[in-house]
């Protein structure tokens, strides 16, 4: 695949990412072209951290649902800030299960969130790989528009 094709692919994926993380769209401009990817990376790290916390909290006996809820609350907040709508919606359901102290429901929600997380992880890794290939071929990374 030549550089032009790689760049086109990257542009398409970046545009898709912008559409997905809808809140970040208006915050991108020429003066800060890497802003979106920076925040998405932050969100990704944040996600990993929070998911680990939730997993640990749900694995305790007995489960401290308030603790779990605190983590979900945080995750809901940051997902709303970046516009990750699916994650945010799952978190809302998750919180209801926490309040009802429904362990099964909580575990199901956690699995959904883990799924969303791996989707994001795969996409980010793919984006970075594209960037690396472009740079290796001597091309420039198209900025997100």
């Amino acid at each position: 695949m030549d550089v032009l094709q790689l760049q086109r692919k990257l542009r398409e994926h970046q545009a898709a990412m912008l559409r997905e993380f809808s809140q970040l769209q208006k915050l991108q401009d020429e003066s800060s072209p890497d802003f979106v990817i920076e925040v998405v990376k932050m969100f990704f790290d944040d996600s990993e951290n929070l998911l680990n916390n939730m997993t640990r909290a749900l694995g305790q006996v007995p489960v401290d649902f308030k603790q779990v809820d605190a983590h979900v609350h945080q995750y809901k907040g940051s997902s709303a800030s970046v516009g990750a709508a699916r994650v945010k919606n799952v978190c809302a359901t998750f919180r209801n299960f926490c309040e009802a102290q429904n362990l099964e429901g909580c575990v199901r929600c956690l699995q959904q969130l883990q799924h969303e997380y791996s989707l994001l992880k795969n996409n980010l890794q793919y984006l970075f790989r594209l960037q690396e290939e472009i740079q290796a071929a001597g091309g420039s990374i198209p900025t997100i528009e």
Binding site: Q23, L27, M42, H73, Q74, K76, G77, S78, S81
Partner: protein
């Protein structure tokens, strides 16, 4: 604040906003929103840090008693839910200080909890924004800052307390099943008290568009009515 008095009603310098949020992602986003809106921004991750920067921490009661020059800010925007000192605690500290109470304080929260909103407004918050914060929210904030300078330079005393006047409370989103009870440790306050500066009739909160919520009577709206409100946006 010297900058305020320089010219009558006109702030010639860039407005300076102090943003407080414990979430890294949210800090990044709010900083960006403010910078895009031509504000100078200082961001911290806790209420304690904010107070330290201002010069209003435990070690001192007033910033004028020594050589310490605290940060000069035109507005403080803070998250509500933070570990240690909540945004509400921070608000109280600022409004309780003779030096800093004139600074408009805006609260952000990811949860649309009416008693919480009321409590913040009663304590003197200028506005309450339900996250995610949008550019239009930040635009509205800038009005508070210029309004403040106009009023301070025009009137002898401070402008009428935070209470219910001024900016609209935006984004009454009820898309998720938010509970009436507040999540914080204090019991929800459905206080029937009416702030003197607000109008006597409850504002019509049936439309999600920005409307000034001038009265705490809002908190007595029936939960059924609230749940029926459609979530727009």
């Amino acid at each position: 604040m010297n900058r305020v008095m320089e010219r009558d009603g006109v702030v010639s310098e860039q407005v300076h906003v102090l943003a407080v949020d414990d979430s890294l992602v949210d800090r990044k986003v709010i900083e960006r929103l403010l910078k895009i809106s031509a504000c100078k921004v200082t961001v911290v991750d806790s209420g304690i840090s904010a107070l330290q920067l201002l010069g209003l921490d435990e070690q001192r009661t007033t910033s004028e008693s020594d050589d310490f020059v605290g940060l000069k800010v035109d507005l403080i925007i803070t998250d509500y839910c933070m570990p240690g000192m909540t945004g509400y605690d921070l608000l109280k500290k600022i409004k309780g200080s003779s030096t800093f109470r004139e600074i408009p304080v805006v609260i952000m929260s990811s949860e649309n909890i009416l008693p919480r909103i009321d409590r913040c407004l009663e304590e003197g918050a200028k506005d309450f924004i339900v996250k995610p914060v949008k550019l239009s929210d930040v635009k509205r904030l800038k009005n508070y800052m210029s309004t403040a300078t106009r009023e301070v330079s025009a009137a002898a005393g401070g402008f009428g307390g935070g209470g219910g006047g001024g900016g609209g409370i935006n984004k009454r989103k009820l898309s998720d099943t938010s509970t009436v009870d507040d999540m914080s440790s204090s019991p929800p306050s459905i206080s029937p008290s009416i702030t003197p500066s607000s109008s006597s009739s409850p504002s019509d909160s049936s439309s999600p568009s920005p409307s000034p919520l001038s009265s705490p009577i809002r908190a007595l709206d029936s939960p059924i009515r609230r749940l029926k409100m459609s979530s727009a946006d």
